[in-house]
C-alpha cells in the first residue's frame, strides 16, 4: 500500500494536489478492513474481496469517464441510462441474429453517439451539462423501454466465449477485474501524461484563460462528453456478458453512486481537479462499506443512508481542510 501512495504522489504536479486526499482514503479503507476482519470471519477472504472487486469493477469503468468529465467542469447524469441502453441495443441486435461481438461494438458506438448529441447541445447550443444530461437520462431510459417493449431480454443463448468476458476468469482473476484494471491504468496514465488530457485540466480550471491560451475548449468538452458515454457503453456490454440478460430498468440511480465516488476521491464539481486513482479509491470505500454492512447484517434500508452520510462527511472534511489552507 505504501508503494501505492508513493506512486500516486510521485512528483506529479496534478496528483500532488490530491495525494493527501488519496493517502487519507487509503488509511480509512485499511482501517475499515482491519476493523471488519475482527468483526466478521468472512470479510478477510479472497472470496469476499473478489466479490467486492467484481461489484465495483464494471461501475469503476464508468467512474473513469465521469471523473474526466468532472475535471473538465461537466457532469453526466445519463450514465446509468446509457449503460442500460448499450446493453439493451446489443442484446436486441444479438437476438435479431447479429453475432454478439458486432452487436456489442454497435452498442458502444450508439453510446458514443448519445455522448456526441449531448456534446452538441453543450458546446453548440450552449446548454449546461447538468440539464443536458438530465434530459438525456430520461430520454435514453425511455429508449430502453421502447427497444425492449418493457420486458427484459433473455440472452442465455449468448456464446460461451462472449459470456466469458463477464463470467470467466484468468488464473482465478475474473476478466471483469482485468478489464477494469487495464482501463484505469490507461486513463490514469493518460490523464497525468498526455497533452490532450492536460487540456482537460486547463478547460476545467478556467475556461476563459484556456481560450486565451489558444485551447479550443468546446472541442475538449465535446470529446470528454463523448468519452464518458463511450465508457458507459463499454460497461453496459460487460454487464450484458455478466448477466446474460438485458433489463430495461438496469442502472437506474447508478449515476449518483458514480458521481459520489468521484467526488469522495477528490474530483471537484467546479472542475479543474480530480484523479482517476482517487475516484477509484472513493468507489472502493463505498464498496467496502456496503460489503461491511451486509456482513454485519445491517438492513438494506440503512445502506443508502449511510453511504449518503459518508459522501457528506468526505466532502465536508475536504472543504474544511482547504479552507484552513487558504
Amino acid at each position: 500500500m505504501h508503494a501505492e501512495i508513493k506512486a500516486a504522489g510521485r512528483r506529479i504536479n496534478f496528483a500532488q494536489l490530491a495525494s493527501m486526499r488519496e493517502a487519507g482514503l487509503i488509511v480509512i479503507i485499511l482501517a475499515l478492513c482491519i476493523a471488519m476482519s475482527f468483526a466478521s470471519p468472512h470479510f478477510l477472504t479472497w472470496g469476499n474481496f473478489r466479490a467486492m472487486l467484481m461489484s465495483f469493477s464494471i461501475e469503476g469503468i464508468v467512474v473513469v469517464g465521469m471523473t474526466i468529465l468532472l475535471i473538465v467542469g461537466g457532469i453526466d447524469l445519463s450514465v446509468g441510462s446509457v449503460v442500460c441502453f448499450s446493453m439493451v441495443v446489443s442484446g436486441a441486435l444479438f437476438l435479431a441474429g447479429l453475432d454478439p461481438w458486432t452487436a456489442s461494438l454497435i452498442g458502444i458506438g450508439v453510446s458514443a453517439l448519445i455522448g456526441a448529441a449531448m456534446g452538441f447541445f453543450v458546446t453548440v447550443i450552449g446548454l449546461n451539462h447538468f440539464i443536458t444530461s438530465l434530459a438525456a437520462m430520461v430520454i435514453v431510459r425511455g429508449m430502453c423501454l421502447v427497444v425492449t417493449k418493457g420486458t427484459p431480454l433473455s440472452l442465455f443463448t449468448l456464446p460461451p466465449a462472449f459470456k466469458a468476458i463477464g463470467q470467466g476468469s484468468f488464473n482465478n482473476i475474473p476478466y471483469v477485474i482485468l478489464i477494469f484494471v487495464v482501463v484505469v491504468a490507461i486513463f490514469d496514465f493518460l490523464l497525468r501524461r498526455a497533452t490532450a488530457f492536460r487540456k482537460v485540466f486547463y478547460t476545467g480550471s478556467n475556461e476563459k484563460a484556456a481560450q486565451f491560451s489558444g485551447i479550443r475548449t468546446n472541442q475538449v468538452k465535446f470529446w470528454v462528453t463523448v468519452l464518458c458515454s463511450t465508457l458507459a457503453g463499454l460497461a453496459g456490454v460487460i454487464y450484458m456478458a455478466r448477466f446474460g440478460a438485458a433489463t430495461p430498468t438496469f442502472g437506474a440511480g447508478m449515476e449518483l453512486n458514480i458521481i459520489a465516488a468521484a467526488v469522495i476521491g477528490g474530483a471537484s464539481l467546479n472542475g479543474g481537479s480530480g484523479t482517476i486513482f482517487g475516484a477509484i479509491l472513493g468507489m472502493a470505500l463505498l464498496s467496502v462499506v456496503t460489503s461491511s454492512l451486509i456482513l454485519l447484517d445491517v438492513s438494506v434500508y440503512w445502506q443508502d443512508m449511510i453511504k449518503g452520510c459518508i459522501l457528506l462527511a468526505a466532502v465536508s472534511i475536504d472543504h474544511f481542510l482547504h479552507r484552513k489552507k487558504s
Partner: protein
C-alpha cells in the same frame, strides 16, 4: 487634541496561519478628512479594511470609534457603527438589477412583505446618476467591469455612513468616471464624512487626499500631510528602498527598426472600424483611450481571438489570416488578457502548468505525451528570468501575489518566443515594485527585437513607458502621439474627443 479621531486603530495584529498579515499597526482617521492608505500588495491594507468592516477579526489590538473601544463582529455590526467599505473586488449579485444591488442592505432589513419596485428604481436611479447614467433596471451581469465598480460605489453611498473606505475604487474606471468619483468624494468630505482611500496611483492621492499613511510588509511606516511630502517620498516609504527610476529609458530617437506588425483597415463590424496600426522592432507602442473605446476588442481581433469583417494583418511582412488564436500564436503573435484572474491565469493549477498552457505542442513528445522535464525546465528558466517570487514551480498560482501572478502570465506569453506581444493592462492592480520590474522587462524585450504593444488606462504608464501612443476613441484611431508630444492632456483630449477648458482642468487634476 480637542476631539477624538472618528476612527483609531491601536496595536492591531492579524495572522493567517504562520503568515503575519499585520503586526502592531496603528492608523488614525480624523473627522472629515480624506486619508490615503498606501502600500505594496501584501502590505496589509485590505486586511486592515476588512477588520474595520467586520469581515475579519483582529488577533490583538483595539479599534476605537469616536474614542470608544468597539468590537466589530460582522459586516452588519460595522454598518450599525456607520462604517462602509467598497471592496476592491466586485461583490455584486450578478443576476439582480442594479437597483436591487444598490439597496440590498435596505431590502434585507425591511419589514414590509412586498417590494415597492417603483420607489426602489426611482431612489436607486437618483443615487446612480450622481456617478454615471447607468439604468438601474439593468442586470449587473450585463454591465462592464467599470460600470459594476460604479454600482459598488453607489451602493456604499446609500448607506448612512460616517466612515467610508474605498479600496482601489478607480482600478477599473475611466478618467472621466474617476473624476466624477473624486468630486463626489470631496462632496462627502464637506458633509463631514471621513474617507479612507486606498490607491496605488500617486496622482490621485496627491490631488484628492489630506493625509497619507504608508504600510509595508504588514507594518505601519509613517503618516504624513500630503502637502508636506512628494510622490517620490511616498513610493520610497512603500518599497523601503530607493527606486531611482520609475520607468526605464526610452528608445533613442534615431533607431526605428523594421516593420514588425502592420494592421490595415481592420473592422469587426460592431465595435470598431478601419483601424490602422504599425509596430516597429524595438519600440513599445502604447494604446490609450477610454475603457469601452474598443482597445481590447481591436487587440483581440488582431490576434484572431475575435472575428474581423475586413482588413489585413501582416506579421513580419507575412500576411496573417488567423482563424483562431492558436494560429496567431504559432505565427508569433500573443495577447495577454486584461482580466488576470478571470482569463489570465489558472489559479488552481501549478505555476509550471500555467506557463506551458500556450503551446503544449512544443513540450509534447512522440505518442502525444507531455515532456514533464522539459515543462519544468521551461518554468524554471522563465520564472528565474522574470524573478517570480514563489515556493516552487509546483505551487499553485493562487498562492502568489498579484504581481507575481502577472509575471507567470507574462512567462506564458514568452514561452513561445513571440515576435509581437500585446499586453492589455499589464500592471493593473500590481504594486509599485512589481510594476517597475514588469516595465523594465517590457523594455528589455523591445530591446531584444520583440514588438511590444501596451494597452493601458493609466496615463503615467503610457507616457513613461511607451515610445509612441495611439489613442482609440469610439472604435477608431483618434490620433497618434510621438515621444515628444506625449502628455496627459494630449491623451485625454484625443480620448474624449473634446477640446475645451473643462478637459484641460481635468488633465491638470489628474496630473
Amino acid at each position: 487634541m480637542t476631539q477624538a479621531p472618528i476612527l483609531e486603530i491601536r496595536g492591531l495584529s492579524k495572522a493567517f496561519g504562520p503568515v503575519k498579515a499585520l503586526s502592531d499597526v496603528r492608523f488614525e482617521l480624523r473627522r472629515g478628512e480624506i486619508h490615503a492608505l498606501c502600500g505594496e500588495n501584501g502590505a496589509g491594507k485590505s486586511t486592515l479594511m476588512n477588520m474595520i468592516a467586520g469581515v475579519l477579526q483582529p488577533d490583538e489590538g483595539d479599534i476605537l470609534i469616536d474614542g470608544e473601544r468597539v468590537s466589530i463582529h460582522s459586516p452588519a455590526a460595522a454598518q450599525r457603527l456607520g462604517i462602509a467599505l467598497v471592496h476592491q473586488e466586485i461583490a455584486l449579485c450578478q443576476d439582480a438589477t442594479v437597483a436591487e444591488n444598490i439597496y440590498m442592505a435596505a431590502i434585507n432589513s425591511r419589514r414590509a412583505p412586498l417590494m415597492n419596485f417603483q420607489k426602489l428604481y426611482a431612489d436607486a436611479q437618483k443615487v446612480m446618476d450622481l456617478l454615471a447614467p447607468i439604468p438601474v433596471r439593468t442586470r449587473v451581469a450585463d454591465l462592464s467591469i467599470s460600470s459594476q465598480q460604479l454600482v459598488e460605489i453607489a451602493k456604499a453611498l446609500t448607506l448612512d455612513c460616517k466612515v467610508l473606505m474605498l479600496d482601489e475604487p478607480t482600478a477599473a474606471l475611466t478618467e472621466s468616471e474617476a473624476q466624477r468619483l473624486f468630486s463626489i468624494v470631496r462632496g462627502l468630505k464637506e458633509r463631514g464624512i471621513s474617507v479612507v482611500y486606498i490607491s496605488h496611483r500617486m496622482a490621485e492621492i496627491f490631488s484628492l487626499c489630506d493625509r497619507v499613511t504608508v504600510f509595508r510588509d504588514g507594518r505601519y511606516v509613517a503618516t504624513d500631510q500630503v502637502a508636506a511630502v512628494s510622490p517620490d517620498d511616498v513610493v520610497r516609504k512603500m518599497v523601503g528602498r530607493e527606486i531611482t527610476q520609475l520607468y526605464p529609458d526610452k528608445l533613442a530617437p534615431q533607431e526605428p527598426g523594421r516593420l514588425l506588425l502592420s494592421v490595415e483597415g481592420l473592422s469587426d463590424g460592431r465595435r470598431f472600424a478601419d483601424v490602422d496600426l504599425q509596430l516597429r522592432a524595438g519600440e513599445i507602442l502604447g494604446i490609450g483611450g477610454l475603457i469601452g473605446a474598443g482597445r481590447s476588442e481591436i487587440a483581440q481581433t488582431v490576434c484572431g481571438l475575435r472575428p474581423s469583417t475586413s482588413g489585413t494583418v501582416a506579421l513580419d511582412g507575412k500576411q496573417l489570416r488567423p482563424r483562431s488564436y492558436g494560429d496567431a500564436v504559432k505565427a508569433g503573435l500573443v495577447y495577454l488578457s486584461e482580466d488576470r484572474k478571470g482569463s489570465g491565469v489558472f489559479l488552481d493549477l501549478p505555476i509550471a502548468a500555467n506557463i506551458s498552457a500556450l503551446d503544449l505542442a512544443r513540450l509534447t513528445g512522440r505518442l502525444g505525451l507531455l515532456d514533464r522535464k522539459a515543462e519544468d525546465r521551461q518554468a524554471k528558466e522563465l520564472t528565474g528570468r522574470l524573478g517570480v517570487r514563489m515556493a516552487g514551480i509546483d505551487a499553485t498560482v493562487s498562492t502568489l501575489s498579484g504581481g507575481n501572478q502577472q509575471k507567470v502570465a507574462i512567462a506564458r506569453q514568452l514561452s513561445v518566443d513571440p515576435k509581437v506581444i500585446i499586453m492589455d493592462e499589464p500592471t493593473r492592480g500590481i504594486d509599485v515594485g512589481a510594476k517597475v520590474e514588469i516595465h523594465r522587462l517590457l523594455r528589455q524585450l523591445a530591446g531584444s527585437g520583440v514588438g511590444v504593444i501596451v494597452i493601458s488606462s493609466e496615463l503615467p504608464e503610457l507616457i513613461g513607458l511607451c515610445d509612441r501612443v495611439v489613442v482609440v476613441r469610439e472604435g477608431s484611431i483618434a490620433g497618434e502621439l510621438t515621444a515628444n508630444e506625449l502628455g496627459e492632456e494630449a491623451i485625454i483630449m484625443l480620448a474624449s474627443g473634446v477640446q475645451d477648458s473643462s478637459n484641460q482642468r481635468q488633465a491638470q487634476n489628474v496630473a
